[in-house]
């Protein structure tokens, strides 16, 4: 009985692939630059996203400097402060996290993990990256146009987003909206690829219920993105018309600088609905791939099968579906009907159930596991802790009565940075340490990795945990200077200065990480094909890094689920997904 590997199927011959219609690069340009290979596109996506993400990191330094030491830095005025928060938020949420998880990890891992040679439409996939790059360039260009980038806040609420009181009203907002439209077009091209690859291009034996949770997370997030980004697309188009043509979709009748404007009859609340119909699923578009990846990291590095695989899958799907009916919890203070708020508070709290199931399952996977405190595992553990923290404050903010006094305070900033800032970044970093050996064939340096983890994790906690306290005191967000008021205690200023110093240190620690990436590429220890002794298909490729077409002549055949770790009676503590069941066991298994 113990000899029968869990869920192994009977022997089947490998899939014959008679004709490989891959696009074969003919020159250096089509191999490395205009490449149609998902792995190259993934690296292009990742590098671009990281580059623009570093810009956003520097912006956060600027904001922290101003908040920590108000009045000290003459080069940060109120307008610039607003521009910094806007660009920081927009870049981090959309151009870094969404692009990195779906365009980066999605492109690299989906074909390898489902046993395909490439994405189903490599040419469209290539276009996706180039349109994304264009969107990033348009976004970055706003730093150099007259008036600078928009300072409307990342939510871009009208009417202020396009009025002259807001910085970047000339060019910034126009380019920002154009960049978003481009991003959505580019993403759609990639997203269709990811979904169809998962649904229709799996290798033999790879059923949906044998997919690693990483693929489930990215797959569900992509479907959500394909349904949620349309709302942002429409909102962007309409606001662009309001700004350029003088239509009044979102603009009510207004007096500006003593002058009656031509606008009238539009609804700013309509924009908020459209924006958050996109914006809330967006939170989970970032979170679900993180959920998936962290499940695989925990299972691999604790040498134990994931606890409750089916529950995990259904929790991902349930969170994805529920996230489309909670959007108005971002709008409790918009003056909406209390019954409406009650409905959205209820759905919001219901989402906590599948999310809690996931957290319990991660912890139960760790329980009595053979935990290796490798760098990816450390980051995975860091994720669980920050995510639980951010998730619990989410329960506070999901309730109308609690949210109303906390709305627009630092408490909200602390909440979403914990839950969708730090937590997914933890997973991104852990995933980079985990898959870097597959991408380059070399291990990242362990010592630098551990240093990077402890500074980042403890630092991030020290930055964002005190913010809850500030929020409870009533310190508002998005204020250039909080000044002197009765509720601003001296501890607020002390904590603000403290957080700013920690933020600088955490930011600087990322230099160690970047150095590690470069140094290990040349000098790292060769990793071999499967350094973590993992079961999933990407570690079983004939070459490391995987060659063009991923697999040799034959596609792999999958015989089991992705989590055969520490199977009792098995020779090793992991059984790769493509290892056929042993003969003896097979005879026992088949009736």
């Amino acid at each position: 009985m113990v000899d029968v590997p869990y869920e192994a199927t009977v022997d089947v011959p490998p899939a014959e692939v008679p004709e490989v219609e891959l696009y074969h690069p003919k020159s250096w340009w089509t191999q490395y630059v205009f490449s149609q290979d998902a792995k190259v596109i993934a690296i292009q996506y990742s590098l671009t996203a990281t580059a623009i993400g570093l810009v956003a990191l520097v912006l956060s330094w600027m904001m922290r400097l101003q908040l920590g030491f108000p009045g000290t830095f003459s080069f940060i005025d109120a307008s610039q402060y607003l521009q910094f928060i806007t660009m920081h938020g927009m870049i981090m949420v959309i151009y870094l996290l969404t692009a990195l998880f779906l365009g980066g990890f999605g492109n690299y891992l989906i074909p390898l993990m489902v046993g395909a040679r490439d994405m189903v439409f490599p040419y469209v996939n290539m276009l996706s990256y180039w349109v994304y790059l264009l969107a990033v360039i348009v976004l970055a260009s706003t730093f150099f146009v007259p008036g600078g980038p928009t300072g409307a806040g990342w939510t871009l609420y009208p009417p202020q987003a396009i009025l002259s009181g807001t910085p970047g009203q000339d060019w910034g907002i126009i380019l920002m909206l154009s960049s978003l439209i481009l991003f959505i077009i580019g993403f759609t091209m990639g997203g269709l690829n990811y979904v169809v690859t998962v649904l229709q291009a799996r290798t033999r034996g790879m059923t949906l219920m044998r997919l690693p949770l990483t693929v489930w997370g990215i797959f569900t997030a992509t479907i959500m993105a394909l349904l949620a980004f349309p709302a942002l697309f429409v909102a962007s188009v309409m606001m662009l018309f309001d700004r350029l043509l003088g239509t009044s979709f979102f603009m009510p009748a207004l007096v500006e600088m003593g002058q009656q404007m031509k606008y009238g009859g539009g609804s700013p609340i309509l924009f908020q609905h459209l924006f958050w119909f996109f914006g809330h699923p967006e939170v989970y578009i970032v979170a679900l791939p993180a959920f998936g990846i962290v499940s695989d990291l925990i299972s691999t590095h604790a040498r134990k099968n994931i606890f409750g695989y089916r529950m995990m899958v259904w929790a991902i799907v349930a969170i994805g579906a529920l996230s489309f009916i909670v959007w108005a919890h971002h709008m409790y203070v918009s003056g909406m009907h209390p019954t409406f708020g009650f409905f959205f508070a209820t759905t919001t709290l219901i989402i906590a159930i599948p999310t809690a199931i996931k957290v319990y399952n991660w912890v139960l996977t760790l329980w009595r596991g053979d935990i290796h405190l490798t760098v990816p595992m450390l980051f995975a553990l860091g994720f669980i802790i920050t995510f639980v923290n951010g998730g619990l404050t989410g329960l506070f903010l999901g309730n109308v009565v609690v949210d109303v006094p906390l709305s627009d305070t630092m408490f909200v900033v602390a909440h979403f940075h914990m839950v969708m800032g730090v937590a997914p970044i933890m997973v991104v970093l852990g995933a980079i340490y985990h898959w870097y050996p597959k991408v380059t064939g070399r291990m990242l340096d362990d010592w630098m990795g551990k240093f990077h983890f402890w500074v980042t994790f403890l630092g991030a906690y020290l930055i964002f945990f005190p913010m809850h306290y500030l929020g409870l005191l009533g310190v508002p967000r998005r204020y250039h200077e909080i000044g002197e008021a009765a509720f601003i205690t001296p501890s607020v200023h002390t904590l603000n200065a403290f957080m700013s110093v920690v933020a600088l240190i955490v930011g600087l620690a990322q230099i160690v990480f970047l150095f590690n990436l470069v140094w290990s590429y040349f000098k790292g220890r060769p990793s071999g094909g499967n350094p973590w002794r993992a079961t999933t298909l990407e570690w079983q490729t004939p070459e490391t890094p995987p060659g063009h077409g991923n697999w040799g002549k034959e596609l792999p055949v999958v015989y089991r689920w992705a989590y055969d770790y520490s199977v009792p009676g098995a020779k090793e503590d992991f059984i790769p997904q493509n290892q056929p069941p042993a003969r003896r066991a097979l005879q026992g298994a088949t009736p």
């Binding site: 229709q200 799996r202 429409v234 309409m238 979709f249 009859g265 309509l270």
Partner: protein, 240 residues
């Protein structure tokens, strides 16, 4: 890359009917939609995404129309034409709708002849579809010109709520763009059919993949979708 096998050898081709069949397909390996090619699956998912775009446009328009305090212009009057001394409401829109729905018919016939590998008839029917689509866009251009001559602008119009012009130009413009792209792709694919690309397995210029007549059906999916969207625009914008 060759598509993974459409049916799994060693598995009985007979599939359970109804919900059991759906469950069996989704829990099977290789593909969730059996016998559906990658291209067709991609078009369906794209159309689902596009549905959300048009829904958002239409919902936004309806919100504006319901919440405006200024009277909304009467579409029957705005879109009326004087033909031979008769005042006929919505006549142009009725003709446009008729033309677009007819083009769906010719498209369906093109798909049929495509699967019979009838090169000439397929290409001709696709070109007829493209011509009908172009006629539709042309009539829309006429309608736009007429309204602009009467003083309708995205930001104002002589009869009432400014959002009338904004929504009209935005929604019909977005739909017209879809039709225009459809016409361009219809012509491009009709050319490939005519040249016999799908009979000789000629490789695509960018993708180096061999096409087949299924692309006609995928094109048809898009075209029927654009028609269906028009039905909703017609109902919600013109008939309301």
């Amino acid at each position: 890359m060759a598509e993974t096998a459409l049916t799994t050898p060693g598995q009985s081709p007979a599939r359970a009917a109804g919900l059991k069949g759906v469950a069996a397909d989704w829990s099977s390996d290789q593909r969730a939609f059996k016998n559906v090619s990658w291209g067709k699956a991609m078009m369906w998912i794209f159309l689902l995404s596009d549905t959300f775009i048009f829904s958002c446009f239409l919902l936004s328009y309806m919100t504006a129309r319901m919440s405006t305090t200024v009277p909304w212009p009467n579409p029957s009057e705005v879109f009326a034409l004087e033909i031979a001394g008769h005042h006929i409401p919505l006549i142009l829109i009725a003709i446009m709708t008729f033309i677009l729905i007819s083009s769906s018919g010719t498209m369906a016939m093109a798909v049929n002849f495509g699967y019979r590998r009838d090169r000439v008839k397929t290409a001709v029917l696709m070109l007829v579809t493209a011509a009908l689509g172009a006629t539709f866009v042309g009539m829309q251009a006429f309608e736009w010109t007429k309204l602009i001559m009467e003083g309708v602008r995205p930001w104002e119009n002589p009869w009432g709520a400014a959002q009338f012009g904004s929504s009209f130009f935005m929604i019909t413009g977005f739909h017209g763009t879809h039709v225009t792209f459809g016409v361009i792709f219809l012509i491009a694919i009709a050319r490939k059919v005519w040249r016999g690309d799908f009979d000789h397995g000629r490789r695509g210029f960018f993708t180096s993949r061999r096409g087949n007549y299924e692309i006609v059906e995928i094109m048809g999916l898009y075209w029927h979708f654009v028609d269906l969207v028009w039905v909703f625009i017609f109902a919600f914008f013109y008939l309301w």
